[in-house]
C-alpha cells in the first residue's frame, strides 16, 4: 500500500510504530496520533481561513467594481497575514458592565462550533475525521453550539445593540434551522443513512438531480444560518452597528470574523456533500485521494463563491419579511417536499434508473411550480388589498 493511495493509514501506521517503539501503550498512541492528525487538519483549516479572508475581499471588490487588496505581495496575497498581526497586537478591551467569563467564552465557542464540523466532512474515501452514523444531525448539533455562542456574546456584552442583534440573529438561525433539517432529511431518505460518508458513497447520481428543490432550499437556509446577506440583519450596520459582536475587538472579534468565513466555506462543502456528490467526480476520486480532496475543496469553493455572489448582489431583507418567508413559505414547502420525496421514492423503488431520476426531478419541479403559483396568488391578493385600501384612502 503506497502513501499515495491511502496517505492517512500509511502515516498512522508509521507513527504507531514510532510511538509504540517508545514504549507507549497502543491505545494512548492511537489517541495521540488522532490528536496530531486533528491538530494538523485544523491548523490547515486556519490557514485556509486566512486565505478565505483574501478571497472574500478580492471577490467583493470585483463585485463592487473595485480592485481590493493589492499592495502587500502579489495580488495583495500577504494582506490577510498583516491583518492577523494587527489583530494580534491590538488591545483587548472588555466593556465595563460585561459578564467577563461568558464574554470571553463566546468567541471561542463560536470558532469551535465551526471547527468541529470538520469531524464529519469526508475529504476522500476513507479520509474523514469520524464516520458517525448520525453525521447529518451532528452538523445541526454543532450549529446549536454556534447559536448559543451568539446569544452568549450578545448578552455578555452589556450593550443594547449587541443584545438586539443577538436576538435577531438567533431568531433567524433557529427559524431557518427547520427547513434546513427538513431538507437534510432528503439525502438521508435517498441514501438510507445519516452518515456523511455513506451519503457520499451512495451518490452514484448526484442528489441535486433527484432533489433540485431540496438543494435550493438547503442553500437558502444555509445562507440564513450563516447570517450572511441578504439575511444579515444581525449586523445591520445602519441600525445595529455590527450586531452581537459590537463590543468585541482584537483577536476575539477575529474569531467571530474568521469563524463566519470558515462557516460559509464549510457549508459550501456540506452543500457539495449532500447534493453534489462530495469528493466524487466521475471516478476521479478513485485515482488518488489527493485528487478527491482537490475535488471536494473545489466544490466547496464553488458553493462558497455562490454564497458570496448572493451576499454581494442582494439587498438585506427586513426581519418580518424574512421570518414570514421562512415560516409561511420555506417551511411548508420543505415539508411538502419531504412527503413528496418519500412517496416518490417508495413508488419508484423498482423503476429503471432513467425513470427514477426523471420522476424525482419532475416531482420537485412540480412542487416548486405549485408553491410559486400559490405564493403568487396570495401576494397578488395581498397587493390588491393594500392597493385597494390606498385607493379608498386617496378618495377621502
Amino acid at each position: 500500500m503506497s502513501f499515495w493511495n491511502d496517505p492517512l493509514k500509511v502515516a498512522a501506521d508509521w507513527l504507531l510504530g514510532v510511538f509504540t517503539g517508545w514504549g507507549m501503550p497502543e491505545l494512548a498512541a492511537n489517541i495521540l496520533i488522532g490528536f496530531l492528525g486533528i491538530l494538523i487538519l485544523i491548523s490547515l483549516l486556519m490557514v485556509l481561513d486566512i486565505g478565505l479572508v483574501w478571497v472574500e475581499r478580492k471577490v467583493v471588490a470585483r463585485f463592487q467594481d473595485r480592485i481590493g487588496p493589492n499592495r502587500l505581495g502579489p495580488f495583495g496575497l500577504i494582506q490577510p497575514f498583516a491583518d492577523i498581526i494587527k489583530l494580534m497586537i491590538k488591545e483587548d478591551i472588555t466593556p465595563a458592565g460585561a459578564d467577563k467569563v461568558i464574554y470571553n467564552i463566546a468567541p471561542m465557542l463560536s470558532m469551535m462550533s465551526v471547527l468541529i464540523l470538520w469531524a464529519v466532512v469526508p475529504l476522500a474515501p476513507a479520509i474523514l475525521g469520524v464516520d458517525l452514523n448520525i453525521g447529518v444531525l451532528y452538523i445541526i448539533a454543532a450549529g446549536s453550539i454556534g447559536t448559543l455562542s451568539i446569544i452568549m456574546a450578545g448578552w455578555a456584552s452589556n450593550n443594547k445593540f449587541a443584545l438586539i442583534g443577538a436576538f435577531r440573529q438567533v431568531a433567524v438561525m433557529i427559524s431557518f434551522e427547520v427547513p434546513m433539517l427538513a431538507t437534510m432529511l432528503i439525502p438521508t431518505i435517498l441514501a438510507g443513512s445519516m452518515g456523511t460518508a455513506a451519503i457520499v458513497e451512495k451518490q452514484d447520481i448526484w442528489y441535486v438531480l433527484l432533489a433540485p428543490l431540496g438543494a435550493l432550499i438547503f442553500l437558502i437556509a444555509a445562507i440564513a444560518e450563516l447570517g450572511r446577506a441578504p439575511f444579515d440583519l444581525a449586523e445591520g450596520e445602519s441600525e445595529l452597528v455590527s450586531g452581537y459582536n459590537i463590543e468585541y475587538s482584537g483577536m476575539k472579534f477575529g474569531m467571530f470574523y474568521a469563524g463566519e468565513l470558515l462557516h460559509a466555506f464549510t457549508f459550501g462543502g456540506f452543500w457539495a456533500i449532500l447534493f453534489f456528490g462530495g469528493y466524487r467526480f466521475f471516478g476521479l476520486e478513485k485515482v488518488s485521494p489527493f485528487l478527491a480532496i482537490a475535488v471536494i475543496l473545489f466544490k466547496a469553493f464553488i458553493g462558497y463563491w455562490l454564497i458570496m455572489w448572493v451576499r454581494y448582489t442582494l439587498l438585506r431583507i427586513r426581519i418580518d419579511h424574512m421570518l414570514a418567508f421562512n415560516w409561511k413559505f420555506l417551511t411548508p414547502l420543505a415539508f411538502t417536499l419531504i412527503m413528496v420525496t418519500a412517496l416518490m421514492n417508495a413508488l419508484l423503488a423498482g423503476a429503471p434508473a432513467w425513470l427514477y431520476i426523471a420522476g424525482m426531478f419532475l416531482s420537485n419541479i412540480v412542487v416548486a411550480w405549485g408553491a410559486l403559483e400559490i405564493a403568487r396568488f396570495y401576494s397578488r391578493r395581498e397587493r390588491e388589498r393594500i392597493e385597494g385600501k390606498q385607493v379608498v384612502a386617496a378618495g377621502h
Binding site: 472588555t94 458517525l132 452589556n158 450593550n159 443594547k160 434551522e177 415539508f335 412527503m339
Partner: protein
C-alpha cells in the same frame, strides 16, 4: 475503539486553537484600560438607560414554534434512515406525522402568531 474519542479530540483541538489565538493576542497586546474605552459603544452617543431592553414576545413565539418543529423533525430521522426497507406503509405513517405537524403550523398561522407586528 469508540469513534467518539476523536469527536472529543475535535472538541478539544477546536477549543485549543481559539484559546491559543486569543491567549497570544492577550500576551502581545497592550493593556491600558480606562473608563472611556470600557464604556458601552453606541456610536459615540451617551448610552441611555440600561442595556436590558424589553423584547417582543414574538421572539418567544418563534422559538416555541422552532422547538416543536425541531423535535418533530429530529424524530423523522430514524424514520428516514429506515424508509427504504420499510415500504409504503412507513411512508404513509411519516406523512401522517408531518401532516399533524403542519396542522400545528396552520393553527399558529391562522391565529396570527407568525406575524411580526
Amino acid at each position: 475503539m469508540n469513534p467518539w474519542i476523536f469527536v472529543g479530540l475535535f472538541f478539544v483541538v477546536g477549543l485549543l486553537i481559539p484559546v491559543g489565538a486569543i491567549g497570544i493576542a492577550w500576551l502581545l497586546g497592550p493593556k491600558k484600560p480606562n473608563p472611556i474605552k470600557q464604556s458601552v459603544y453606541e456610536c459615540g452617543i451617551e448610552t441611555v438607560g440600561e442595556s436590558w431592553v424589553q423584547f417582543k414576545a414574538q421572539y418567544y413565539i418563534f422559538a416555541l414554534v422552532f422547538l416543536v418543529f425541531d423535535v418533530e423533525t429530529v424524530f423523522l430521522f430514524p424514520w428516514a434512515v429506515k424508509l427504504g426497507a420499510l415500504g409504503l406503509f412507513a411512508v404513509i405513517e411519516g406523512i401522517i406525522f408531518v401532516l399533524i405537524l403542519v396542522a400545528g403550523l396552520v393553527y399558529t398561522w391562522r391565529k396570527g402568531m407568525l406575524e411580526w407586528a
